[in-house]
Amino acid sequence: MLELRDIHKHWNGQPLLRGVSLGVAAGETVALLGASGSGKSTLLKIVAGLEAPESGQVWFDHTDITALPPERRGFALMFQDFALFPHLNVRDNVAFGLIEQGHRRAQAREQAEALLAPWGLAAHARARVWTLSGGEQQRVALARALITRPRVLLLDEPFSALDAALREQLRAEFAERIGAAGMAAVLVTHDETEARGMAQRAWTLRGGRLESAW
């Protein structure tokens, strides 16, 4: 169970997050809605451990992980623009996290290829990531995040770079895959339709505070 307790953060001298508290149960997807610059992505980075809150804590499974560095949290973050490594091919991008977990390179690559096959990406395993279409890159990014079986999946505007038709198709596909993996997920988006298609609960971040949306 992921829990945020009274998180505070300033940006450029202005209060950005003012006492944000939130709980996400295992297997649950929670959406964070809000306008641009409302602090959604910052909150997600605080959960991931990429930024530190000025006060407040992040708890996971009854343990305070606020000071834990990102690599030791076991969470995965999917970025708005995918953040696929341009110097690695598709397979090695997906295998990246497994190698960091201590798997042997050959074994990690084997697992990555096995995961890519049912996603329709087997033919692209050796391709450079920039040769893929937007939708394919998005799938690779999700595969890379899921292969390590993260405890929490964090999604930062995952479909904003895609066109409307593809967005709708991937939304359903992602919801199914995340549900099948059975992990907690936090989805940051400004699109309420997207939130309704993927999350069980939603909150709106306004003026640095969370308000229940539905």
Binding site: L50, E71, R73, L77, F79, A83, H87, E100
Partner: protein, 547 residues
Amino acid sequence: MKRARWLLLAPPLVFLGLVQVAPLMRLLAEAFAGRDAFGGEPLRWWALWQDAHLRWRLLWSFLQASVTGLAAFAIGLPMAWVLARWTFPGRGALLRLLMLPFVVPTLVAAMGVLALWGPRGVLGAPLAAWGIELEDTPWLLLYGNLFFNLCVVVRAGVEALERIDATRLAAARSLGATPWRAFWRVEWPAIAPWMAAAVCLVFLYCFSGFGLALVLGGPRYSTVEVEIYTLVAHELALGPASVLALWMIGLTGAVALGYAAIEQRLAAPARVVPVPRRRPAGAGQWAAVAAVMGGFGILCAAPLLAIAWRAAHALAAGAAPVLWAPETLQALGNTLRFSAAALALAVALGLAHALAQRWLGAVSARRGGRGRLALGWRALAYLPLVVSPVMVAFGLLLLYPDWTASLGLLLVAYALLGYPFVARALTTALDQLPAHWAQAAATLGATPWRVFWRVTLPLVQPALRRGAAFAAATALGEFAVTLFLSRPEWITLTTLIHQRLGRPGAANLDAAMVLAALLMGLALLAFVLIEGAGASSGQKGDTASHA
């Protein structure tokens, strides 16, 4: 981890402090101490203006640098426009060849000018037959300056023009602007700061130039740097030399500040729709392309071809044994050993500098400050632009008199000249590296060290190689510092060439030409080996200092 990051700051800071800042302070102290005298008077910092000879040196240095800057601008801007806007056979090769002067050692360039325009040169000899003597005129030095610096302006111009959004030009044209008006009202305002920065850089290189002026300037048209060298090495007049140095530092410092201020204004790279290049249409435009090719050939390629030509002739005439003479082998061995050691040190320091820069930038962004510390740290990598190799060597000589005959000091000075190339290339690459890749790696379980090793280093490797290639070329062709600090047994190829040039007779000149061709080949080989196929992807600021 935080402690480890602070440790990144330490090596460059200690190194620059001991090898650059402290010697500079010592030099300034010498200038103000008034130990020596002009004509027996107590030394004063304005004294050199009362000395006609030194006044002329300073004025001439200023004049030749200004003239070169203006000429490079006038010739370079049209060349850059043609290269940026039109496509034609040989365009890519030409852009690549524009990197050549950056890696050619100054002494080799000077030899190239002599091989072309000297009294026995490929074109100089026929001119001499018509009674036109170029030796002991300012033309040789100005031509040598242009050889080195035209490419600075052209490359900056091409890069600036390529950053102009096609939609802006299309908007101007659709609003009724002719191509010329569109250039004047849209392109020129966008590229003007780039051109100003490039001209400042050219001025700095020429004003503090040493190698070219030593060989081509003759007694009348050599520069202040040569005068400082003569005063220190031949007349042991440290006082007057340090006063000259003080003026040089003041003047170059002022121009460098102007350069930094302009560079600060150059917009961060944004994604633009590039202006599509088109084929030249009509005889007039093809004539312009031919003029660009011709200009490049005369100003940039001809001196190097002349060296190859003269060296081939010398070899055919029996100069080949110089290649395996014991002193050549010794000089070659020293050049390679010194350069390799200096390169290793420069890469390590440059890497630490750039990583510390990235960290300081992130810290100041987090704190929401203006990042003065990060800016100051960045400026440190530009110090060698202001402080010429002659100043470095002179300062080291004054501060560490007991170590002047030590190999360590020589290598450290070499590394100082190479390290900014690595630091600046890497800093730019790291600036342009989006943070999300490192963040993605961290959330996938990579520790900071693993993030560096698996993500950051592979992504900045092209920049690292480019910086290292420039550092290697600088070390291989180093001349000024070597003249000051070297001992006879540490002879390098540049000092050997200089020795041969100083000896009378055609045989020595032939030997110098062969050695210059060897050094040119070595510098090109090192550059190609390290830089590899990415040779054309040089960026703003990646310019070797031609001292």
